[in-house]
Each structure stands twice: as C-alpha cells, then as structure tokens.
C-alpha cells in the first residue's frame, strides 16, 4: 500500500520535504488548480484593504485637523480614540464590533464588521501619521514664502501642499501595505478573501502546508507589486524619492 501511494505521489511530481527528521511529501499538483480561485480572493483582499485605507485616511484627516485646530474637548476625544485603538489588538476590536453590537440591535455582516474594524484601526494610525506630517511644516518655510510675496493661495499650492505630500507619501504607502496584510484577519470571520479561500481550499484538498505556502507566496507577491506600484506612482506624481523595496 505504501509503495502504491509513493508511486502515485512520484507520478504527480511530488516534492519531498524532510522536517525534524520525519518525512512528509509535498504534493502541489492537487492545489495548483485552485490558484485562480485564490488569486480572485487576493483581489477581494485588495478591495478590503483599499476601502479600509480610504475610510481610515478620511478619519485621520479629520482627526489630525481637530488635533491642530479643534477645541480642547474634541482634542481629548481624538487623543483617547487614537490611544485606545493603537494599544489594543485589531482582532479583539472586530470581535467586539461583531459580537457586542448585536446586543444593542446593530447586526453587521462579517464583511461589514471587518471593514468597520479595520477602518477605525487604520484611522487611529493614519491620524498619528498625518499629524506628524502636518507638524513637519516649518514656520521659517512659511515666513520665507510670505517674504517673497506669495499670496495665500500660492502659499498653500506651492509651499504647503508639496511639502506635506512629500512628507506624507512614504508613510501612507507603508500603511497601505500593512492594510493589505491585515486583511487576512477577515478569514477568522469567514470572509472569503485570500486567507479565507485558503481555508476553503484546505478543507477541499487536505493539503494544508501546500495551500498555505502558496498563499504566503501570493501575499509576498501582492505586497511587492503594491510597493513597487506605489513607489513608482510617488516618483511620477510627486517626485517622492522612496526606496522601491
């Protein structure tokens, strides 16, 4: 029987892995057929990352403005929000949204719960990033521009915006990559993004190690593509000189 199985495995182009002295035969051929399905899941991951990033960005923009110009009470609220969300795990935040909100009559789909949790979480980090970016503007820069007779509009367009865009682009791009990796948490709530689909393929084929190693490679590829695209976009649009990888 063992001989038959070994032959069958050899026929399918199996790779042999030896781990901790015990051998296990990796068979990728049973999984390769599911790769298009997994890649479609990767698109869903990307979508979730984009949605949560954009909402988080908006939250961060409002919060950073409040921190700079808002009244004291509003500043305290924003500080509290940021501190709380940065110092607790995203998974538990989503658990809270998913399991506690129904008690007060708010029923959310898993996708919505994950998207809301990720947006709020990203909002906290993006508040910090954008506050730091706005604060990197130096008084002397503005004074110099005023001294050179820039109008208010020119000041914003030629001095403030280019400075802020250049300061903010790299950390924002970085946060987007983090967002892409974070979407894997959605699988825990049975959202069928890349990791969720990996669970599905695993229960179909029982080739766990093969499935998850392929998914790991897809994540590496996905984030690499995003990193390179964002770095090139930054160079082309804003002349931000960022490291490509």
């Amino acid at each position: 029987m063992g001989e038959v199985v070994r032959r069958a495995n050899a026929d399918q182009g199996a790779a042999h892995a030896v781990l901790l002295g015990v051998s296990y035969t990796l068979i990728y051929s049973q999984v390769t057929g599911h790769i298009p399905y997994l890649l479609a899941g990767a698109l869903l991951s990307l979508q979730l990352a984009l949605i949560s990033f954009l909402i988080g960005w908006a939250i961060g923009l409002v919060n950073a403005s409040v921190l700079n110009f808002g009244p004291r009470a509003a500043r305290l609220v924003v500080r509290g929000y940021v501190t709380f969300f940065i110092n607790t795990p995203l998974l538990v935040q989503i658990f809270f949204i998913f399991f506690v909100l129904p008690d007060v009559g708010i029923l959310l789909s898993p996708y919505a719960a994950v998207a809301i949790g990720m947006s709020l979480n990203a909002g906290a980090y993006l508040t910090e990033i954008q506050r730091a970016g706005f604060n990197s503007l130096r008084r002397a820069e503005l004074d110099a521009a005023t001294a050179m007779g820039f109008s208010r509009l020119q000041l914003v367009w030629y001095v403030i915006l280019p400075h802020i865009v250049k300061a903010l682009y790299p950390p924002l791009a970085n946060q987007f990559i983090i967002q892409v990796l974070t979407t894997s948490i959605a699988a825990i709530f049975a959202v069928e993004e890349l990791t969720g689909r990996a669970y599905n393929v695993n229960s179909l084929t029982f080739r766990a190690l093969e499935v998850f190693s392929i998914v790991a490679v897809i994540y590496v590829g996905l984030t690499l593509v995003c990193s390179v695209a964002l770095a090139l976009l930054g160079r082309w649009l804003f002349r931000v000189k960022a490291r490509i990888i």
Binding site: L19, L20, V22, Y24, T83, F84, I86, N87, T88, P89, L90, L91, V92, Q93, F95, F96, F99, V100, D103, V104, I177, L181, T182, T183, S184, I185, A187, I188, T195, A198, A208, L209, F212, S213, V215, A216, Y219, V220, T223, L224, I245
Partner: protein
Amino acid sequence: MWAQVMEEAPRFFGYWNLMFLGEALLGTLALSWLGASVGFGFGFLFAIGRHPRLYGALPVRILATLYVEVFRRIPFLVKLMCVFFAFQLSGAQVSLFTIALVTVILSAAAFAAEIARAGIESIPAPQWDAAEAMNFGRWRTLTRVVVPQAWRVVLPPLFGYTVGFIKSTSIASQIGVMELTYAAKILNTRGFSALLCFGTILLLYFLICYPTKRLGERLEARLAPRRAS
C-alpha cells in the same frame, strides 16, 4: 443590555474566572515577550549579516535580505497556519504554545532585523574607517564601536515592536493557544455576555500595551542621538 451585564458582573469576576484570565494574561505576556526577545536575537544576527563591513559576505547578505523581505510580507495568520501544519504533518509532538512561539519568533526576527539595521546604519562612516585604521577586526568593531552607540537608536523602537507582538498574539487564539483572546472566546461560549468578555480583555490589552508604548516614547525622547553641532 446594561441590566444583564450588571447582573452577570459579580459572577464574571468570580475567583475562578479571575484565575483563568490571569493565566491567559500570563500566556499572552510569555508568548509576546519571550517571542520578541528571542526574535530580536535572531534579528540582530540578520542585521549584522546584512552589513558589508560586519559579517555580510554576499551569499549571507542575500539570504538575510530575502528572509527579512519575505517574512515581513506574510500576514501573521498565514505564518501561524504554515507553522501549525508543518509541525502537525511532521508528526512532531509539540504544544500549541510552542507553535505560536515559533511563529512569533519567525516574524519578530524579520522586524527586529530592520530595527537593528537602522541602529547599525546610524554609525557614521568615519567611525567605520577609524575602526579599520586602528586594525579592529569585525568582532571588535561590533562590540567596541557599533553596539555601544547603536543601542540608543535600537532600544526605543523595540517597545513599539513588542506592543505589536502583544497585539499579534491575539491571532494565536485561532489555533487554541491559551491567551487573552482565547480566554474571552471560552468565557463567551460559557454564556457570559460578549460585552463583559471582550470588554475586559480589551482593557487588559490596553493596560499592558499602553505603559510599554509610553516607556518607549519616553526613552526615545531621552536617548535621542545628540547631533554633533
């Protein structure tokens, strides 16, 4: 909802539940601190293996860079599943805690390598030349020149990095490791309301993460490298 929570609270914060949560808290702390510390050890090795003037022979450099770039681009959950099934299929009898710990170490090493690298790169070029001119070997350069100065740059971000792993270990609840999130899930299935279970552990996470993070920020302000003027 409030009435129900109030009614449950005395039972929820009973002796056995508190012991249970305490054990879970210890699990989270052990997993994250041990993982982050051992991970830093490996990360430091990767960092000196990536520096051409230390131990960065070309093949070592390529391997270390590959490891760091790849392991920072795989989500914690996927790494956890890979490690989990690798151990399972290899037939090795290890505890779930060990599996989670190995995952934390694997990813901590990659992140720590970047932190340590920033420290090593903070040493200005003339000092490398000076060390070479004084006929310092790699080991002496590392221990007498790099480490005594780089620790100021490396230490503060390590607190934020540890907080990151305290938070990441919540994902280890997926394979059933005894830590805070898993404890909350168990208490929730025992019939306690979700608000109490998840609210309590959110608070506990906050209580361990916030001071750690603040300590890092304090140190950062204090150890900021003095600019040569």
